[in-house]
Symmetry: C2
Subunit: 149 residues, 2 copies
DNA sequence: CTATGTGCAAACTATTTGCCGTCTG
DNA sequence: CAGACGGCAAATAGTTTGCACATAG
């Protein structure tokens, strides 16, 4: 009752290396950042191969495709459920790990759970703010005035 | 204590018509959909002008720029706070108006409110499911199996 | 008047694809 | 050894930009 006519996927060296590099990268890299890293190990690899593999790996669930509005796609080797913070200053994407007093994420997830009853199967929740690096630079200097996006 | 060196914006006919067309369109149109509509009223308008004005209108807050991952930008003349449902089948974007028993959105917003304490200024929350049109087609036939995205 | 905006066309960026030879299973 | 895959280069799609003229305020 499964795998009827499913194309068979091979684990080529290219695919293997791409997967490894994404898994070893906590920065949510773009396709060309991945390309550069992989190229150090497989110099003649092409961008087309990288994209094809990113597609394949994402649709088979081995990696996650992030889709920040506007800018390019980014990829995440961490496929466990978590949210991201997109930095409004530098564009970097960080994981959000709230162990807040209010357990906000749990409240959120509970609320989101209710929605599935109304025809919603999934959601994407993204946060905007300053990443840890930009927060440091910004310091007490000035608070960022943020147009809601 | 304001408007120091701010460029002055003119309300040209092009800008006016673009704004009108977006405001009269509940479908969250793409740039080229807007272009086609505007072209019926200003035949010689160019795509460049449409894009420049969409940028300007969005950054001045007169319209909202939606940024569905992958696909093109879409725009919304309704700038009041609301969430969207992106149809996983046809890509259409609908407004979500939950007046659910659990008041899920209120719970959500309350939870999201807490996060601002932790350096998050804004968020984007998108839902995935079937839009009203595709829901009708799908009928009782088959439930969509949805990879979490 | 003059800075802001327009039309046009060319440029750009990220991503996708066709072709054909290569290699995995 | 067949079908999946890779390299290469060209093609796309969406969006942006430089330029010279037009126009709102």
């Amino acid at each position: 009752m499964k795998n009827t006519m499913m194309p068979h996927h091979r684990m080529t060296r290219q695919r293997q290396v791409i997967l490894e590099e994404i898994r070893n990268d906590k920065t949510h890299p773009t396709a060309d950042e991945i390309y550069e890293k992989v190229r150090k190990r497989i110099p003649r690899i092409s961008m087309g191969t990288v994209y094809r593999n990113l597609d394949m790996l994402a649709s088979s669930g081995l990696i996650k495709r992030l889709e920040p509005g506007r800018s390019q796609m980014r990829f995440d080797g961490d496929i466990t459920d978590h949210y991201h913070l997109t930095c409004v200053k530098c564009g970097r994407i960080e994981d959000i790990l709230f162990e807040s007093p209010e357990n906000s994420i749990e409240t959120l997830e509970r609320a989101l759970g209710h929605l599935t009853k109304y025809g919603v199967f999934g959601h994407r929740l993204e946060f905007f703010g300053l990443c840890s690096i930009c927060r440091r630079e910004e310091d007490v200097t000035g608070l960022v005035s943020l147009a809601a996006r």
